[in-house]
C-alpha cells in the first residue's frame, strides 16, 4: 500500500439531517487512493446521502468532506473533472439517443482531449466502452432495457478516465456477462491508479470486487473491514444431500456451525467463518449434492453488529 498519498476521500464528522430526519451521522471515513472501497448497508442506512454529500449535490449539516484533497461542495466544479459518477436512481434523458447523451456529457467535459489535456474524453473511447458492453448507442435511451441504461451510465462515469469513481449501487440489474466486464473496468481503473468508491446492499458483490468495506446502519458507520477478514467471518447457508440419512450431531465438533436441521437425507445448517473444515469432514461421507449460499448482508451484520448497534 502507498501510505504517503493523501486519501482520495476523507470525511470528518460528516452529518446530514433533513429537518428531523436522519441522513448520516458523524461519519469519519478515509478511502486511500487506488483503493476499491465498498460502502455497504441496508436500504435507507444513509449510503445515498453520503454519496450526495461527496458529490456536492447536498450540503452537510455538520462536518466536512475532502475529495481528492479538496473540499467538495456545490461549487467544486474543477474537482468534478476528476470524478466519474453513477447515480443510484437511474434517470437519464429518455428522448436522447445513447450516443447523443454521451456526447452531451463529453461536451460538458470539454470534448475530445486536446494534446495532453486531462479530464476530457478521448476520441473513440466512448465507442470502445460501448463495444465492450455490447451497447447499441443508436437507440433512444428510453427504449433501452434497465441493464442497458446502466451501461450508458457506466460509460458516462468512465469515459473521461477519472481519478475517482463514485458509484451508487452500480451493478444491481446488470446481467452476469456485463457484470464481469464491469469488474474488469474497475480493476483497470485501479491499475491506472484510480480510486473506486461504490455502494451496495449486497455483500457478495462487494466481496468479489472490493478490498475494503465500510458498513453503515441507521446513519452510522459501524464497521470498516478488509474483505479478507470479513471472508473469514462470513456466514453461509449450506444444504447437503447425503446418500444415506445423516445424524444430527455429526458436525458438532466443527467450530462455527449453527442451526443444524435434518430433514430425511437433507441437512441444513449455517457456517460462521471458514467452510473448509466442514467440507473436509463431509468428504468422509457419500454426498449427492451440496449447495452453499452466502447469507444476506442484513443477516450477516445483524449477527455481527446487531447488539452493538442496539446498545
Amino acid at each position: 500500500m502507498t501510505k504517503q498519498k493523501r486519501p482520495a476521500i476523507k470525511t470528518q464528522g460528516l452529518t446530514k439531517y433533513y429537518g428531523q430526519t436522519r441522513g448520516i451521522e458523524d461519519l469519519d471515513l478515509s478511502v486511500e487512493q487506488g483503493e476499491i472501497f465498498g460502502f455497504l448497508g441496508p436500504n435507507g442506512a444513509g449510503k445515498s446521502t453520503t454519496i450526495n454529500l461527496l458529490m456536492g449535490f447536498r450540503n452537510p449539516s455538520d462536518g466536512k468532506a475532502l475529495v481528492l484533497g479538496k473540499p467538495i461542495g456545490p461549487g467544486a466544479v474543477e474537482l468534478r473533472r476528476q470524478i466519474g459518477f453513477m447515480p443510484g436512481e437511474l434517470s437519464l434523458y429518455g428522448d436522447m439517443k445513447a450516443h447523443a447523451l454521451l456526447d452531451y456529457f463529453a461536451d460538458l467535459r470539454g470534448g475530445p482531449a486536446k494534446n495532453g489535456e486531462t479530464g476530457s474524453v478521448e476520441d473513440g473511447y466512448i465507442h470502445e466502452l460501448a463495444e465492450r458492453f455490447r451497447l447499441d448507442l443508436g437507440k433512444k435511451v428510453k427504449n433501452l432495457s434497465k441493464g442497458n441504461k446502466q451501461k450508458v451510465a457506466l460509460v458516462a462515469a468512465w469515459m473521461h478516465k477519472p481519478d475517482l469513481l463514485i458509484l451508487d449501487e452500480p451493478t444491481s440489474g446488470l446481467d452476469p456477462i456485463v457484470q464481469e466486464e464491469f469488474h474488469d473496468l474497475v480493476h483497470e481503473a485501479k491499475r491506472r491508479g484510480a480510486t473506486v468508491f461504490l455502494s451496495s446492499h449486497v455483500l457478495s458483490e462487494a466481496e468479489h470486487l472490493c478490498e475494503r468495506v465500510g458498513v453503515v446502519k441507521e446513519g452510522r458507520l459501524i464497521a470498516v473491514e478488509r474483505i479478507a477478514d470479513l471472508h473469514a467471518r462470513g456466514i453461509r447457508h449450506v444444504e447437503v444431500q447425503f446418500a444415506t440419512k445423516p445424524w444430527k450431531d455429526m458436525l458438532d465438533r466443527v467450530e462455527g456451525i449453527r442451526n443444524v436441521r435434518v430433514d430425511g437425507k437433507t441437512m441444513r445448517f449455517t457456517v460462521h467463518g471458514s467452510i473448509d473444515k466442514v467440507i473436509k469432514l463431509l468428504a468422509r461421507h457419500r454426498i449427492v449434492n451440496l449447495s452453499s449460499e452466502p447469507a444476506s448482508l442484513e443477516e450477516f451484520f445483524f449477527d455481527e453488529y446487531g447488539e452493538e448497534v442496539e446498545s
Binding site: 449535490f57 447536498r58 461542495g73 456545490p74 461549487g75 447515480p87 470539454g110
Partner: protein, 263 residues
C-alpha cells in the same frame, strides 16, 4: 465555457416549439382573415359603452379599427396567455423539471457550474419564447395587409416586443420558483396564479377604487396600458418587464447556487 446546456435545451424543445409556432400562426391568420368581414360591423363598438365589457377588453377603444380588432382578438388575452403558458412551462422545466425527472445529478456531476446551468437554461427559455413572439409578429406583418389590417411595422414590432417581454417576465417567475424549490408543480401553480391574478388586477383596477392604486403592480399594465399597437413601445414599460425577468434570473442564480438538490 461549453454552451452545451443551452444547445441541448433548445434541441429538446425543437418539436414542441414547431407545433406551438404553427398553432400560433394559424390562430393569428384565422383572426386576420376574418377582419374584412368584421370591420364594417361598427355596432360592436356600442359594446364598449358597457363598463363590464370594457373591463375584459383591456384598453381597447374600438373593435373595428385594425388596432382595436387585433387587440381584442389577439393581444388582450389569447396571445399573452399562450406565450405565458409556454414561457412558464419552459421556466419551470429548466431546473425543477430536470430535478423532478431525476436527471439533475448526472448533469451536475459534469464539471459545469450551477450558475452556468441557470444562465444557459434561462437563455434557452428567452430564445424559444422570443422565437414564438417572432413567429407571431412575422405572420401578422406578412399577412395583415392582405386582410386590410394596415398597421405600421414599428408598432407591430412594439407589440411583439411587449408580448415577448410579458411572457419572459412570467417565465422568469416560474424559473425562479423552480430553481429555488425544485418543485415544478408548485412553481407552475404559483406562476399561473400570479398571471391570472395580475391579469384581473390590471383589468378590474379601473373599475374598482379599492384596487385602483395597485394596477401598476400588474405586469399586464406594462404590457398593454400604453397600447403598443397604436402608440408604439413605451421604453420604461418595456424596461419594467425586462427588469422583472432579469431580477428573476439573478435570484435564480443565488437560490440554486448552493441549494441541496433532490438526488
Amino acid at each position: 465555457m461549453s454552451l452545451g446546456v443551452f444547445t441541448r435545451t433548445i434541441r429538446e424543445n425543437r418539436k414542441a416549439l414547431f407545433w406551438w409556432g404553427l398553432g400560433l400562426a394559424v390562430y393569428v391568420l384565422i383572426n386576420a382573415a376574418f377582419y374584412p368581414d368584421f370591420k364594417d360591423q361598427t355596432s360592436f363598438n356600442e359594446l364598449l359603452k358597457s363598463e363590464a365589457v370594457k373591463a375584459f377588453s383591456g384598453n381597447v377603444t374600438s373593435f373595428t379599427s385594425p388596432e382595436g380588432y387585433l387587440n381584442a382578438q389577439i393581444f388582450a388575452l389569447v396571445a399573452p396567455i399562450l406565450l405565458i403558458i409556454y414561457a412558464v412551462g419552459r421556466g419551470t422545466d429548466a431546473v425543477a423539471g430536470e430535478e423532478g425527472r431525476g436527471t439533475l445529478p448526472l448533469l451536475l456531476a459534469n464539471p459545469v457550474r450551477r450558475e452556468a446551468v441557470v444562465l444557459q437554461k434561462f437563455a434557452a427559455m428567452t430564445v424559444t419564447t422570443a422565437f414564438l413572439a417572432l413567429i407571431h409578429f412575422a405572420v401578422l406583418a406578412t399577412f395583415a395587409p392582405s386582410f386590410e389590417l394596415h398597421i405600421g411595422l414599428a408598432n407591430q414590432v412594439a407589440m411583439g416586443t411587449s408580448l415577448f417581454l410579458l411572457a419572459l417576465a412570467f417565465g422568469g417567475v416560474g424559473f425562479l420558483l423552480g430553481a429555488a424549490t425544485g418543485n415544478r408543480s408548485l412553481a407552475t401553480g404559483v406562476s399561473v396564479t400570479l398571471a391570472t391574478g395580475t391579469y384581473l388586477l390590471f383589468n378590474l383596477a379601473p373599475l374598482v377604487d379599492a384596487i385602483e392604486p395597485f394596477q401598476k403592480f400588474s405586469p399586464f399594465y406594462y404590457y398593454f396600458q400604453n397600447d403598443p399597437l397604436t402608440n408604439g413601445l413605451d421604453l420604461w414599460h418595456a424596461a419594467a418587464l425586462a427588469g422583472t425577468a432579469l431580477v428573476c434570473l439573478g435570484l435564480s442564480v443565488l437560490a440554486f447556487r448552493h441549494r441541496d438538490i433532490q438526488a
